[in-house]
């Protein structure tokens, strides 16, 4: 038997796999399967790295990134730094279906999402607020700044470039294996 159709996804996010498969089984397209499968993880906040209430930025805000690609038309919809909209891949699908653009970002992507009927709502939760408060209490460690003053490996910002930039080592700070990852 040919093994198609097929659903494959990173990490053991079983519900996402199941939902995508069911979409294929009831006549949905491959795009529909990817959109509905990933949306499950946005709702379920899969391991805290998908959806609202995770990975607060330095200001404590959760922002979302998502994309969807159609391998038949090579059409793509994507959102980066999406603020205050929960269903990021749903917005990415709208970018694909309703614009000739590929990627919308930030506050403007939020405005686009609202024009498509998505709800503008806070993406923070007690969990993300606690994460952020704990980070502040630990002198904002770790962070993604380098070559700045005050010393980012010891203190919180705001940071400024030193008067004379001294080059340090790698262009990629070793933030630890499991630390910074998408």
């Amino acid at each position: 038997a040919r093994p198609l159709p097929l659903v494959l996804n990173t990490w053991p996010f079983r519900n996402a796999t199941e939902t995508a498969w069911k979409m294929l089984m009831c006549g949905g397209s491959a795009l529909d399967a990817v959109e509905t499968g990933c949306a499950v993880c946005e709702r379920e906040q899969c391991d805290g790295t998908v959806g609202f209430g995770g990975s607060p930025d330095e200001f404590g805000e959760t922002t979302l990134d998502a994309m969807i690609m159609d391998g038949t038309t090579m059409n793509v919809g994507a959102v980066g730094d999406l603020r205050r909209i929960k269903n990021a891949i749903g917005v990415a699908r709208k970018v694909l279906e309703h614009t000739t653009h590929t990627l919308l970002a930030g506050e403007s992507a939020t405005k686009f999402a609202e024009s498509m009927g998505f709800v503008n709502e806070d993406l923070s939760t007690d969990t993300s607020r606690a994460l952020h408060a704990d980070w502040l209490a630990r002198n904002c460690q770790p962070n993604y700044w380098r070559n700045v003053i005050p010393d980012a490996s010891k203190y919180c910002g705001p940071y400024k470039p030193p008067s004379i930039l001294k080059q340090d080592g790698s262009a990629y700070g070793e933030t630890g294996a499991h630390y910074g990852h998408d």
Partner: protein, 141 residues
Amino acid sequence: TIGMIAIHKTGHTAAGTSTNGIKFKIHGRIGDSPIPGAGAYADDTAGAAAATGDGDILMRFLPSYQAVEYMRGGESPTTACQKVISRIQKYFPKFFGAVICANVTGSYGAACNKLPEFTQFRFMVYNSLMEQPVEEKVDCI
């Protein structure tokens, strides 16, 4: 981050990602996930791939585009994924990352960069030979 590939029984492919990025990122930072060819890539004539991990590094190497091009050249999904991980390893041996790959016949594979705390990568697969979604894992290279 979730990266997903779907291949319809007609052979149509799609791929996508969704993530809330990395903790304590600088306000405005965007990672690899929404970048076509980095977070995910799909092409009915070759296959599809998706990536997860250190987005600030991954996006510089366009891993999912590269994996699809390896499959277009005849590599198996597993080899395509492994070659992409190896390319990045040469420059950033300690990067955290994994890639899933599938070709248009429905074969699939995955690969990851071995770190002391990350020696296996777990992913989900569901195809017509299975009764339910199956969790698989690969040893990192």
